[in-house]
Every structure is written in C-alpha cells, then in structure tokens.
C-alpha cells in the first residue's frame, strides 16, 4: 500500500510535468495565432464582400457549414427531386464571425496530445490513490483537488470530441497545473482511514457529483472569460490580445458556456440534495446553515441567477458571463477558504 501511495504521487508529478509542456504549447499556439489573426482580420472584409456579391447565386456555399450540409443532403436524396437551397445573406455573412476558430497553429496538435498524455498519468494517480486507500479518492482536500482537476481536464478532452474548444487549452491546462501544484504541495495528506461521519455511501455519490459539477463550472467559466475577451475586443476597435480575434464569436461562446454551465448546475442541484440527505443521517438534520451548506446554497443561487440572466433583457451577454465567472469563483472559494478558515461541521480537509 505504501508503494501505491508513492506511485500515485510520482504519477501526479509526472502529470504536472507533461501538463507544463502542454500549457506552454497551448500558450504558444495562442500567441502565434495572433499573428495569423491579423492576417485573417485584414482578409475578412474582402471575404465578406465576396460573399455579398455572390449572394444572388442560388447556393451560397462560400461559408457557413450548414449551407454546405444542406446542399449535400439535398443531392443525397437522390430521388431526382430538383432542390435548390437558398440561405439569406445575413446568416451567411455572420457565419464568418461565429464559426469555428481560425488560425490554429501546429503547436496545437502537440499540445492536445500532451494534455491527453498528462491526463492519463493524472488518472493513474487518482486510481492508484483510490486503490491504496481502499475507498473513493475524494475524502480530503488533497484527494478532492486531485480528482476534481482530473475530471475538469477529462471534461475538456471529452468536449473536444464534440466541439473544437482547443482555444480553452491554455486556460484549462494552466488552471489544472496550478491547482495540482497547490494541492500536492500545501494540502497533501497521507492515506488515513475515514472518520465515522464519512463512512457512508453518500460520500461516493455526493462528492462525486460535486466533483463533476466543479469540472463543468470550470470549463463554463473558461468559456465565459473568452466570451468577455471577445466582446471587449469587438467593442473597442483597439488591438488588445490579438488571439482573441481567432475565437468563435461572443454569442457562440455564450451559448456554449450556457450549455456547459447548465450541466454543472444540474449536478450542483443534485449535490445539494444528496448532501442534505446525508446531513440528515450524519448530523441529524438535513439543513442547518453550516458554513459549507451556506456556500453551496450561495453557489446554487448564483447559478440560478445566471440562468435567469440569460433569459432577462439587458442581462444577456457580458453580465451573465460575469455571473458565471463569479459563480465559479465562489466554487473555488468554497473549496479553499471555506474549507480551511471557516468553522463548521465539514471539517474534513484532513489538514
């Protein structure tokens, strides 16, 4: 067992090493993109003009993937129906600014590969820790941090299969690296047996779901940060960070962030309910405004506010993005400051 614990730590440090390189490459990618971005920016008006002038054509396949898709599938219905598809110019032109990232560099591929490798090591660290402890690897702050960052990174890599969000790579790998460093250096504790209050099936489910929620909120916050940068850049014609121009449009980022955050919110709601059920068994009441309960409630309320903001005039866009970021900030606060410095029943940091 001692050995496994040591292996787990070795895996953590190796993962951190690999993540460091991935982070550097992701950052380089963004930096190099900015050069490409300036090119793209100067090219953009010309392209737009081209689209506009060809708009009278029946099929505007110049840009906008959906137009191409429909054209293809129209042909695919090979039943001889003569189909001609028209899409309005405005949609085609706006697709220019909202569609996938442009200007990704060759660093990106390597960065993603390294992030995946780092994640495998990271996962190995989590698993060996769990095996060594003979229980779930999330019973103290170190383990929670280790597992939550693995879930965050895993969610990011999984999301790549669904959407090209590689522009988040620098944020996620940087964040993971920082968090891993802090938990291993400052919060590390050896494997110890569970105190009676933690000996419950609810530890598995309540904390697992909290970890998942945290992973999703982390990515949501990343997207919201990008969204803010993007809308800043759009508002001020000034140069600013140039890679920003290679990102998807602010509203595409916003709706992506929303979709990620609502998954986090559902998980969080479940965490809250499961926590209350467990609290009833362990402490004799399902809700008692214990500090950790208070902060879980605050976070839930903030994200409920965020969801409302998205449906409220004047609050969509930047303001709702800020709410998502503040919400994630509260998650981090709940995990660090509340665990370490606030007094309460949730005294399980293991420190």
């Amino acid at each position: 067992m001692e050995n496994l614990v040591a292996y787990s730590l070795v895996a953590v440090y190796s993962a951190m090493g690999v993540y460091t390189v991935a982070f550097i490459l992701f950052t380089l990618d963004l930096a190099k993109r900015s050069v490409a971005a300036t090119d793209a920016a100067s090219a953009a008006p010309a392209e737009a003009a081209a689209v506009a002038s060809s708009s009278s054509a029946t099929v505007t396949a110049a840009s906008g993937s959906s137009a191409t898709v429909t054209a293809a599938s129209g042909a695919g219905s090979a039943s001889g129906v003569a189909t001609t598809i028209e899409r309005p110019v405005t949609a085609a032109a706006s697709a220019l600014s909202t569609d996938g990232p442009v200007g990704a560099t060759r660093f990106q591929k390597a960065a993603v590969a390294l992030a995946a490798l780092g994640w495998l090591l990271h996962l190995a660290a989590v698993l060996t820790r769990g095996v060594a402890a003979e229980r779930v690897p999330w019973a103290n702050m170190f383990e929670f941090g280790l597992t939550a960052t693995a879930v965050g990174m895993g969610t990011f890599l999984g999301a790549l299969l669904w959407k090209d969000v590689r522009y988040l790579g620098a944020y996620i790998s940087g964040f993971t690296l920082l968090a891993l460093g802090i938990v291993t250096v400052n919060f590390y504790v050896d494997v110890v047996p569970l105190p009676p209050a933690l000996q419950s099936g609810w530890l598995v489910i309540h904390v697992l779901v909290a970890v998942l929620a945290t992973g999703f909120f982390a990515i949501g916050a990343g997207l919201s940060i990008m969204q803010l940068l993007r809308s800043r850049a759009a508002a001020s014609k000034a140069e600013g960070l140039r890679f920003v121009q290679t990102l998807p449009g602010a509203s595409a980022l916003e709706s992506l962030a929303y979709r990620v955050n609502v998954v986090g919110f559902v998980f969080w709601t479940f965490t809250l309910i499961a926590g209350a059920i467990w609290a009833e068994r362990a402490w004799g009441r399902y809700w008692g405004w214990d500090t950790k309960e208070v902060w879980t409630f605050i976070i839930w309320t903030l994200f409920a506010g965020y969801i409302h903001a998205r449906a409220t005039r004047g609050w969509r866009g930047d303001r709702s993005a800020w709410l998502a970021i503040i919400g994630f900030g509260a998650v981090i606060f709940n995990y660090t400051v509340v665990n370490l410095f606030f007094k309460g029943l949730h005294a399980y940091s293991g420190l």
Binding site: S66, T70, P195, R281
Partner: protein, 549 residues
C-alpha cells in the same frame, strides 16, 4: 399576437426577429424597449400604481435581482457563528469582540437566516415567484389546449430559413409535411397554404414544476416545520432516558408543539465502544467507529438496538442520532466523617482528539460550604516536562482525573438557571490548584485524596462512558424530499427538452411548388437550425415517391 408569458422575453425578441436578426441589435433595442415600457406606465391612481408595482415585482428582472441579493445576504451568516448552529461560538465571539458584537447583534447577524432582512428577501422572492407562476400556468394550460399560432407573414428572418422547389402540388406537399411533423411529435395546424407546428410543451411544464416545487419546499418548512421538535440528551452508561420533556438536557420545540406529542419510551445505554486507528508515522489518532448498544423499552417491550454515526434509529415517530461521546467519571465526595455526600457520574466534555476532557462537579449539599470543582480528565495520561499532563490516546489506558476545588456559594439557589458545564468562580474561594499553594488533586481510577482544611475527601470511583443523543421529530422531511426530487426532475426536463415552432409554407409555381421552412426557438435551443434542415430533408424524401407515382 398572443399574450406574452414571462418566459417570452427571448421569444418575444425572436418574434421581433422578423424585424431584427442580429442578437447584439436585439440586446440594445431590448434595453431601450424595457426602459420605455417602464416609463410609459400611465399614472392611473392607486390601483394603477398597485398594478404597476405588482408587475415590477413579478418581472424577470426583479426575480434576478432578488436571487442575487439572496446569495449576497447569505454570506454574513458564514462569516460569524450562528446561534442556531454554534451557540458557543456566539458566546466566544461576544467575549472576543464585545463592541462589534453589539453592533452585529443589533443587525441580527448572529441569526442571519431568520433575520428580518434575510426573510424579507426570500419572502419577496417567493411572492414574485408565485406571482410569476400563476399567470404562466394559466397561459400554459391554455397553450396545451390550443392550436399552434398562425404562421408569420414572412419567414425569411427566422431561424434555419430555407426554400426548396419540388415538383408536387401544394396539397401533396402539405400532406407530406403534416405527416412528417406528426412523426416528429409536433402539434400541427394548417393555416391557408401553410403549416404551423409546435413541440416541446414539456419544457414549460418542467419549468413550472421546478418553480412550484421551490414553493413546495418553502411551504412544507413553513407549515410542517411548526410541528417539529428536537432535543439533546447526555446518556451515561447504564442510565435510562425516558422520553418526556423534563428528561431532556435541552429541547427546541416548533411553534405548534405540545408535550402530549412525546410518546413514552425509554432508552438505556448498555455499552459504548469506540475504535481508533493510530498512524504510526504521524502519531495521529483517527476515530474509526463509534457504536452505542442500547435497550429500548416501548409499550412494555424491551428490544436491543444499535446506534452508530450515520445510522440513526427510528423510535415512535422520532429519530435518534449518535452525535457525541465521552467519559463520565464517577466522583464520590465524602464529608469529614466519611459520609458520602455526592456520588454521581459527571459527563466531561472532550476538548481534543485524544479526549482530554473538561468537567464541572457541583456539590451543593452535605458539606459546611458548597463545593465546586473544575476537573480535567485524561484517558491516557502522560506527564509533560513541565509537569502538566496530556492525553496521548482516546481510550482509557491510563485514566487520570485532576481537580481544582472551590468553596463558597455556587449560586444554585437564586433561581437563575445555571449552565451545568460552567462554574462561575468569581464569588468562590479556590482551595486546590492555581495559586493556592496546594496542588491540584490528581487521582487515578479508584484512588482518593483528602480535600484541604479537613473538609472531607474525593474519590475517583468509576469510569463509565456517555453518549450524546439527538432526538428529532421532523415532519418536513418527506415533503421536502418530494419537492426536491421534483425540482431536479423539472430542471432536467426544462433544460433539455427543446421547445420549438416550425413552419412550412407552400406556394404553387409553374412547375410544381415552392416550399419555405423556418423555425423559432422558445428558450435556449442550439439544435434548431439543424432541426429545420432535417425536416426539409425528410420532407423531400417523402415527396420523392409521390413524384414517381
């Protein structure tokens, strides 16, 4: 146009998208419209103002602001101890910061979650919520029974707009579209040469269920909570607790409680056992298991039960939880003649992980003067270099009791309730320990020592254990659980069932029919554009055989 539901903010914009397509535009104009709507409220006297105020209160923006306010208002309660959760912390806070304490106490910060300001926010929020649910429910009930609304005049600006030419008649095309929309579980209505279809009503249903269940939580707590009660009892080994008001150490009744509600049962602690693990490298002791074996007497029947942390037992509508444990040394005090004047187990409160414990012994009668003692108990005592003792393990391997004795008036007779776990030494004279020149009494198990001045003697007679048991009756649990599950279910449905409208129009052309398709999202719906495309594809496939025949 049909009446707007509160959730139609975006939808309204989307309908207005016939005019404006760019989101950023919408936002800007949305702001402007919102502002002018507020200003344009005519001054209609009292009723008008009331209606205006109500509309403001039940607006989405107010709900949002109140939600955020609620989040912020919850923060102070996590920064300072709360009377409900940590009463000792509040006392400590008062000692540490007497001035700040008074200010904060006036502001009810030590009772944040029952304070006027916190209550005001959540009550307003729930009034707003109810004012928002009712019209939406009515509207939704109507929508469920009515046909999808008329096809907009111009589809060109709506989502996923596309046109397709097909060599078929208008009727053929519309019949095929109708069939296809039905297959996709749309509700379809025909208006002239167009179809209007809608699906995803479940989304709004889920949303309404979610919001109603929120009210359900609050209402359950508000009403059923009045019948709740809970109490605490320190139960020493071999002692029996009888479930009646006077037996409790502390008791918190709900508003509607009356003591006839307490069912008579008895419970005796037979044995308490604790298991610990010692980490050899760090020397840190970890509790592994606490088990209380008890005998329950109910309706004349006796049963043996086990209570553990995380495993409460249910008894006569109450639930019993094992929340704490410790040692209750039996101290026997004799007078100068050797007559026993006091012999009782006294629960000592644990102060650290190795169960160094602090206890207060009060002997009001039988001696010339009243006697009070402050005791420290060390289960596994080890002398430090300084001569002071410490406990190195939470099990009684080397139990030692030290006592500082005081004589004088304990203040028990003046009718003011006294904390059993505190000794007010201001008016007492210390006779052992401290600066008295006489050492504290130090007793191993079974040992005795004389008190100074020939007062008598003290013996450390026995060492039973105690557990502290919380007894709760909480009739809100079932209602809150059901509401919570509805919250979760409603949430999932309302976030992931897409609600959308779809239109198909057909216009006869020289060589067939020109079809137009478009959709409208009601709420967040990233897949809409694709859905319109899919519909158009499937439709053209359906039309294909028509042509061949």
């Amino acid at each position: 146009m049909e009446p707007l539901r509160p959730s139609d903010h975006i939808d309204a914009d989307a309908l207005a998208a016939e005019r404006a397509a760019e989101r950023d535009d919408q936002e800007a104009s949305g702001d402007a419209r919102g502002a002018s709507a507020a200003i344009a409220q005519p001054a209609l006297g009292a009723v008008g103002w009331l209606r205006f105020a109500w509309r403001q209160l039940t607006s989405m923006r107010t709900a949002l602001v109140l939600l955020l306010l609620l989040a912020v208002a919850a923060i102070p309660g996590s920064l300072v101890p709360q009377r409900s959760a940590d009463p000792n912390g509040v006392v400590q806070y008062r000692e540490d910061n007497p001035e700040l304490f008074d200010i904060l106490d006036t502001l009810q910060v030590f009772d944040t979650y029952t304070s006027v300001w916190f209550s005001a926010i959540y009550l307003l929020l729930f009034v707003s919520l109810i004012g928002c649910i009712i019209p939406r429910t009515l509207h939704h009930a109507r929508a469920l029974r009515s046909a999808p609304p008329k096809t907009p005049a111009r589809l060109g600006r709506l989502v996923g707009y596309r046109t397709m030419d097909a060599p078929a008649t208008v009727e053929q095309a519309l019949d095929a579209a109708h069939a296809e929309l039905r297959r996709r579980r749309y509700r379809v209505a025909r208006y002239g040469d167009s179809l209007s279809a809608e699906r995803g009503y479940l989304r709004e249903t889920g949303n309404l269920v979610f919001h109603m269940a929120l009210v359900g939580v609050l209402a359950t707590i508000g009403f059923a909570g009045g019948f709740a009660y809970n109490g605490q009892k320190v139960l020493v080994q071999d002692q029996t607790f009888v479930n009646q008001l006077t037996s409790y150490d502390s008791f918190n009744p709900g508003r509607f409680f009356d003591d006839a509600r307490l069912d008579a049962y008895g419970i005796r602690l037979d044995e308490f056992s604790a298991e610990y693990g010692l980490d050899q490298t760090t020397g840190i002791v970890q509790p592994l298991d606490f088990t209380a074996a008890v005998t329950v007497t109910e309706n004349g029947e006796q049963r043996e039960r086990v209570i553990k942390v995380n495993e409460p037992i249910d008894l006569a509508g109450t639930r019993l939880y094992l929340l704490g444990n410790g040692f209750a040394p039996v101290v026997t005090v004799r007078d100068a003649a050797g007559e026993v004047v006091f012999s009782e187990p006294v629960a000592f409160l644990p102060q650290d992980a190795n169960l160094t414990s602090l206890g207060i012994i009060k002997v009001p009668d039988g001696l010339d003067e009243q006697l009070g003692m402050i005791g420290f108990f060390y289960p596994s005592a080890l002398p430090l270099e300084s001569g002071a003792l410490t406990s190195i393990y939470p099990e009684p391997d080397q139990p030692v009791l030290t006592l500082n004795a005081f004589t004088g008036d304990l203040g028990l007779d003046d009718g003011v309730p006294r904390n059993a776990y505190a000794l007010d030494t201001d008016d007492l004279e210390q006779i052992t320990g401290g600066d008295t020149g006489t050492d504290s009494l130090v007793l191993g198990l079974g040992q005795s020592a004389d008190l100074p001045n020939g007062i008598g003697s003290v013996e450390f007679t026995a060492l039973p254990r105690f557990v502290s048991v919380d007894i709760h009756h909480d009739p809100t649990q079932a209602g809150v659980l059901v509401s919570s599950l509805l919250i979760l279910g409603g949430l999932v449905v309302s976030l992931w069932v897409p609600r959308r409208r779809m239109w198909v129009t057909a216009t006869a052309t020289d060589d067939g029919v020109r079809l137009q398709y478009a959709g409208l999202a009601r709420g967040d719906d990233p897949g809409l554009e694709q859905a319109v495309a899919d519909l158009a594809d499937a439709h053209s496939q359906r039309l294909a055989p028509t042509l061949e025949s």
